[in-house]
């Protein structure tokens, strides 16, 4: 099983080298994306069979990597699930790219790195020793950096790529330090060797901090998120779908592997750190998203929000695991992992939609879109499904994972420690707030991209995209619906994964009649996605049929009511900024230091009134700017050392010699 997966990955790497050769030709696009689609589907099948069938396949050791250790590869339940998520996202992105890739203006910069990127992500999930894990982890960052700067003529993309690679390397070095501690001085880097050597107190704490810093910077937890909204929009859309939907999940896998699997028994305060960071990331992420005008930046920030939700669920699972409540930990972990699966689905779908809008209109700015539902009806439907799913609304999958997270939060009285008893409801409040704001954010995204009247000529000239992109989007949308309607199957599939990590699993769901899910007990709470969906369809159809049959079905078109103004131009419509203005007034003044200064022209003057809104990214000003100025300050001052005279350099050498001789003279 592992061997065949490794052959597929080798095929992907081979495909990457071929792609270098046939980069620019149109045929190249079809070959690369088609082949990566096929390979990812095979890998998906392998992962599925591993997850459902026999998870613990034997470790494969290749003579590569560290000479005395070799490279270990293994697919256990956790790896199988994330392999499934990676390859599902990969297949959808490759299918979408078949059509979307035609508009890529420099394909020779994207095609070689795309299969390598997929191969790297698969390798990270399958690696079973510290060295191959970190090599594939950093190789994943490297290939995604190359994809981010695909159209490098735009200076912002270069800046985004630079910041991204810097943060990625910071994360990798943090992980490297944590593996250094785990492996100990004599350097046994194999994971199963690490598992046997239990790191004690301070070392375990330091490993945990380094692990959450390393994986958090890749996933986009709040203080380390700055690169994500810059890098994800800069990449071509199918790649940003992969980065947001799949790479952040590989980061979550890294966190799970180190903290849940390698570190053994967690301390009590670990869960508090993860919970608070997760909650704050969720709330801040969606508030950022509401302030953006660029469609893909909105999606990037909403990835940060969903990562916050996932980490909150994982923090909860960690809390229950510390107290030994296996069934509650299983519930929280299943909620987290199910949200990982759901988010990879609807985030990829939304990025595909944003990509088609970008292709059709040439712009990502919501102020320049509008009215696309008339010109791109199918993309509108699919994008709507994505928006409803991500806003956690009932018939679709977003709601189910959020519902499970809330059920897990409601188990907080079982936790004996008072700190957690109070923090968990507070984090619950943050998650509730972020869910509501997410609905607002994606109403805004869909409303101002697809509804209303087209604000610019580009929006007027938009056409529907090609069939393969639509096929990819429909495929993912239906998956979202299925996961929302019959979540029981997915929850049972997660059983073995949860069993390996927290030693307990949720009660089997498929047995429950009417396909509803009962997390703990019948009396406590249950939810039936299928029935809710059927009721909606039934009552909607009945009322429509009855009204059309009994009452009237006559319909007439007329001008919209604009208080009687004759030619209301498209400027009178609300824009994305004005839509977010109330929320900005409520939350923005605190979180972003939002200031609105309007200056009205003196009476009689004809110049227009001007409203300026300035938002400050407080985290960027507090954390990243000081570091950048610090490095520049040091570089500036040390630079003078380059321009000294020969005499000064000689006196440097002389001083060093005299100093060392003095040390020799004074010391024993």
């Amino acid at each position: 099983m592992v061997a065949s997966a490794l052959y597929c990955i080798a095929a992907l790497v081979g495909l990457a080298t071929i792609a270098i050769a046939l980069g620019a030709s149109a045929r190249g696009r079809v070959v690369v994306y088609g082949a990566s689609l096929i390979v990812t589907l095979i890998l998906f099948a392998i992962a599925l069979s591993c997850l459902l069938g026999h998870p613990n396949s034997p470790t494969v050791i290749l003579p590569l990597g560290l000479p005395w250790l070799g490279a270990h590869f293994r697919i256990d339940a956790l790896a199988a699930f994330f392999l499934l998520v990676v390859n599902l996202g990969g297949a959808a992105a490759s299918l979408f790219a078949l059509g979307y890739g035609r508009h890529e203006h420099s394909p020779q910069r994207v095609l070689p790195f795309y299969p390598a990127y997929l191969a790297a992500m698969n390798l990270v999930v399958m690696a079973d020793d510290a060295f191959s894990f970190l090599v594939s982890w950093e190789f994943m960052s490297l290939t995604s950096w190359a994809l981010v700067i695909a159209n490098h003529e735009v200076h912002e993309n270069l800046r985004a790529g630079f910041i991204y690679l810097l943060m990625a390397s910071f994360g990798t070095l943090a992980l490297l330090l944590s593996f250094g501690l785990l492996a100990g001085a004599d350097g046994n880097y194999a994971f199963d060797a690490i598992r046997t050597s239990e790191p004690a107190g301070v070392v375990a704490a330091l490993v945990f901090i380094l692990a959450i810093v390393g994986t958090g910077s890749k996933a986009g937890l709040i203080p380390l998120h700055a690169w994500l909204p810059l890098a994800h929009p800069a990449a071509p859309s199918h790649v940003s779908a992969l980065m947001s939907g799949v790479m952040t999940k590989v980061a979550v896998y890294g966190f799970l592997r180190i903290v849940f699997d390698l570190l053994g028994t967690p301390d009590w305060w670990w869960s508090i750190v993860v919970l608070t960071v997760g909650g704050i990331t969720a709330a801040m992420g969606v508030l950022y998203a509401l302030m953006q005008r660029d469609l893909k930046r909105v999606l990037a920030y909403s990835t940060i929000e969903n990562i916050g939700i996932i980490f909150a669920a994982l923090g909860l699972a960690l809390a229950f695991k510390t107290e030994g409540l296996a069934w509650a930990a299983a519930l929280a972990l299943t909620a987290g992992l199910f949200h990982v699966f759901n988010h990879s689905l609807f985030k990829s779908l939304l990025f595909f939609g944003a990509g088609t809008v970008l292709n059709a209109t040439g712009t990502r700015d919501m102020e320049k879109l509008g009215g696309l539902i008339h010109r791109m009806p199918q993309t509108a439907v699919v994008f709507l499904v994505g928006c409803v799913a991500i806003s956690a609304l009932p018939p679709l999958n977003g709601f189910v994972s959020e519902w499970l997270t809330f059920q897990a939060i409601l188990q907080s009285p079982q936790l004996p420690s008072w700190g957690l008893k109070l923090i968990v409801p507070a984090v619950g409040a943050l998650l509730a707030l972020s869910a509501a704001l997410a609905a607002a954010c994606f109403v805004r995204a869909f409303g101002f991209a697809f509804l209303g009247r087209p604000r610019t000529p580009e929006a007027v000239g938009a056409q529907e995209t090609d069939t393969s992109s639509l096929a990819a989007m429909y495929f993912v949308a239906t998956l979202c619906l299925i996961a929302g309607i019959i979540p029981g199957i997915f929850i049972d599939a997660l059983g073995p994964v949860v069993q390996t990590l927290v030693g307990g699993r949720m009660p089997v769901q498929t047995g429950v009649d009417w396909m509803s899910i009962v997390p703990i007990a019948e009396s406590r709470s249950s939810y039936n996605g299928l029935l809710v969906f059927l009721f909606m369809i039934a009552s909607g159809a009945i009322s429509a049929f009855a009204i059309h049959r009994l009452a009237s079905d006559k319909l007439r078109r007329g001008p919209a009511w604009g208080c009687g103004y004759p030619d209301s131009s498209t400027m009178t419509q609300y824009t994305a900024d004005s839509f977010a203005q109330p929320i900005r007034r409520v939350f923005g003044t605190v979180v972003f230091g939002a200031r609105e200064t309007g200056e009205m022209p003196p009476p009689g003057a004809t110049k227009p009134a001007r409203l300026t809104v300035e938002l400050r990214d407080l985290i960027w000003d507090a954390l990243y700017r000081p570091i950048a100025t610090g490095v520049n300050f040091a570089a500036e001052h040390l630079n003078h050392l380059q321009f000294l005279t020969i005499r000064n350099y000689l006196s440097l050498v002389f001083a060093a010699l005299v100093l060392l001789l003095l040390v020799q003279a004074i010391w024993p």
Partner: protein, 318 residues
């Protein structure tokens, strides 16, 4: 035999809810008029309005898309399901376990989601102003509602409405601080969600103050009828939610014989009347707030709900 009876009961509940909703709205308007010493429209006026609207021709804006025409049916369907899931005269109905309180709130959330989209679809500034204000109110009301659910669920030990109302009915609920805070917060959220006086004036068409009305300005004919009906259903839903949680007398989960069902329905009608008149009194007493005072109002609800959750351990820690 039991299954048919259960289906019958569930069907009766859905019909009851549907019929009582316009009556409740009419009753509230009647009581308000009486308080202002006015004659006020007859009790059945809402039914006549609905009937008139259903038969009128729909005038669609030029820019309205297919979504604009589907949304009323979707909004009506979701609100109707949510209303029928809340125990009114009897809890533990056939489909009551298919969705718990969190799912009901989420159903209302999706109804609001699509109503906001309808507001934006036509592309006039009215739709925009209504939607943006609705979204601001929702972004505070929904978390408050969820926190209320948390506090009640932590006390009752379940989020299933039937079990919660059974627990509230049982002796061991006792008097708790968090329940009081929860009630106040729930009333504030109910007022905000149903666009009643302090947050939004249901009776006026003045652009600057409209929230709910602005979103549905472009609807006409049968679509407007459905929107009006779902608004009425929503009001009924919230009142029956408050009563089933905080005044669960007369709701029995095992009652099967005719007499106990009748007493249940009668108790429910009394509670609706009491709720409606309390609302009418409250609306005539208080004036409408400025739009940007509403976040403070709803913020208070959120804080109360969060306090309720945290104080849950104070009154009777177990």
């Amino acid at each position: 035999m039991a299954v048919i009876r259960d289906i019958a009961l569930q069907g009766f509940q859905m019909l009851l809810v549907l019929l009582l909703a316009p009556l409740l709205t009419g009753f509230v308007r009647k009581v308000k008029a009486r308080l202002l010493r006015r004659q006020g429209p007859p009790l059945l006026q809402p039914y006549r309005d609905l009937n008139r609207l259903l038969r009128k021709e729909v005038v669609l804006a030029d820019n309205a898309s297919w979504l604009f025409r589907v949304i009323p049916y979707f909004v009506f369907a979701t609100t109707w399901i949510a209303a029928s899931l809340i125990p009114t005269f009897r809890s533990g109905l056939l489909f009551s376990w298919s969705a718990d309180l969190i799912a009901i709130i989420a159903l209302l959330g999706s109804a609001r989601f699509f109503q906001v989209l309808a507001g934006l679809d036509v592309g006039t500034s009215f739709g925009g102003i209504g939607s943006s204000r609705e979204v601001m109110i929702a972004s505070l009301a929904e978390p408050a509602m969820l926190m209320i659910v948390f506090s009640l669920a932590l006390i009752a030990g379940s989020t299933q409405l039937s079990t919660m109302s059974a627990f509230m009915n049982s002796p061991e609920v006792g008097l708790r601080v968090s329940l009081g805070l929860g009630l106040i917060a729930l009333t504030i959220v109910a007022i905000a969600e149903n666009a009643r006086i302090p947050v939004d004036n249901p009776a006026t068409h003045l652009e600057l103050t409209m929230v709910h009305e602005a979103m549905v300005l472009e609807y006409s004919g049968r679509h407007l009828a459905l929107i009006e009906l779902s608004a009425a259903l929503k009001l009924l839903l919230y009142i029956s939610l408050i009563t089933c949680l905080f005044a669960p007398w007369g709701i029995s989960s095992a009652a099967v014989d005719a007499t106990s069902l009748l007493t249940g329905v009668a108790a429910y009608l009394v509670k609706l009347a009491a709720g409606g008149s309390l609302l009418a009194v409250f609306e005539t007493v208080i004036a409408k707030m400025r739009v940007f005072r509403v976040p403070g109002f709803l913020g208070a609800a959120l804080m109360l709900a969060l306090l309720a959750t945290l104080l849950r351990f104070v009154s009777r820690s177990f």
